[in-house]
Symmetry: C2
Subunit: 229 residues, 2 copies
Amino acid sequence: MKNAIVLVSGGLDSATVAAIAKSQGFEVHALSFDYGQRHKIELDAARRVVASLGIRHHAVTAIDLRQFGGSALTADIVVPKDRDLSSAHDIPVTYVPARNTIFLSFALAYAEVVGAEDVFIGVNALDYSGYPDCRPEFIAAFETLANLATKAGVEGKQHLKIHAPLMQLDKAAIIRRGTELGVDYALTLSCYDPQPPNIACGTCDSCQLRAKGFAEAGIPDPTIYRPTA
Amino acid sequence: MKNAIVLVSGGLDSATVAAIAKSQGFEVHALSFDYGQRHKIELDAARRVVASLGIRHHAVTAIDLRQFGGSALTADIVVPKDRDLSSAHDIPVTYVPARNTIFLSFALAYAEVVGAEDVFIGVNALDYSGYPDCRPEFIAAFETLANLATKAGVEGKQHLKIHAPLMQLDKAAIIRRGTELGVDYALTLSCYDPQPPNIACGTCDSCQLRAKGFAEAGIPDPTIYRPTA
């Protein structure tokens, strides 16, 4: 079996990607980050997802992005609620500087050490929050970089491919695909501002996109939402 | 003053780069990594270099590359000694998987948060150890990536430039340049296998390149070497 690295956050998208990588026959090495995120309990969701898919390798890497801050997820900036996403075109304050660049860099190290040529990431360019490091041109540039960066690549032993299988899917299509593959979305957590153990706010951008996805897919939403006042 | 991020390891090259960035009028934000390196005492050298250059900002970021291993610097692999570098063309075991990709990714986060457009790194393609992530094509690919990765870049507020001012210099030329700029190389530590507080082995690849550089530059070598048996 070929090894693959899959970035697993604990959210809906990366759970789907992990299931896709497994369905393609890869021996999945999951990689998650304890990066100082406000919604750190997503790591519990990541562990549940990894266990439920029978993935045997899971690295959780600690990095301190609070040291740099600059985001509602890593600094004392309020997570926006009840935004009208249909008219919002700016990059929101939940953007974390260089996050996917950092995550993919660690995935590259992990890939080289376990001899993997395939790295999977759950970014998508449709129902997303406008983050620059979720776009196809970013992923293509990282793949180019990756093939110049490693010893195994230079020696011709490794040709790295960055897979972003959700890139052109909307949230409903992602949910349908994961449901076909048996993903249990009740285990996942998408909310930027959750309460333990697994309670979503229902109003942040990520909750809105998720709820809309289940509704459009016509699949019951298993998310536990915080009661409104 | 314009902010710049400078990667500072504590070695000779990055000390020179920090002095170059200062001489170009940048407000330097130094960035070092506690990454599980065998020669962790290089961080003391980094702090000495930063202080001696009057740099007021210094972030030391902890990341655990021992979690992945795969290098003589981050795993239980012996650091090679007394190699004949004139005939060695392979990438040595001191290569750390994806290290410069990871370091530059964090520099990118730091740059975005402090509004810097300039990132300096002390790689060079002549007197180096054959690492793939020290080559001009790697640096160029990272710069392309960086300009696709950030919010500030996408919004047109930031155009990132990765400076590698040592790229085409040999070690003697680097030492001459730093000496002109007043760098005190006695503060630096290049050795991969040092002893506290600042004693170099004299025989690893890095020590060999450094000693040869001072000899060729005709500048006294201030390095403290371990007595040979």
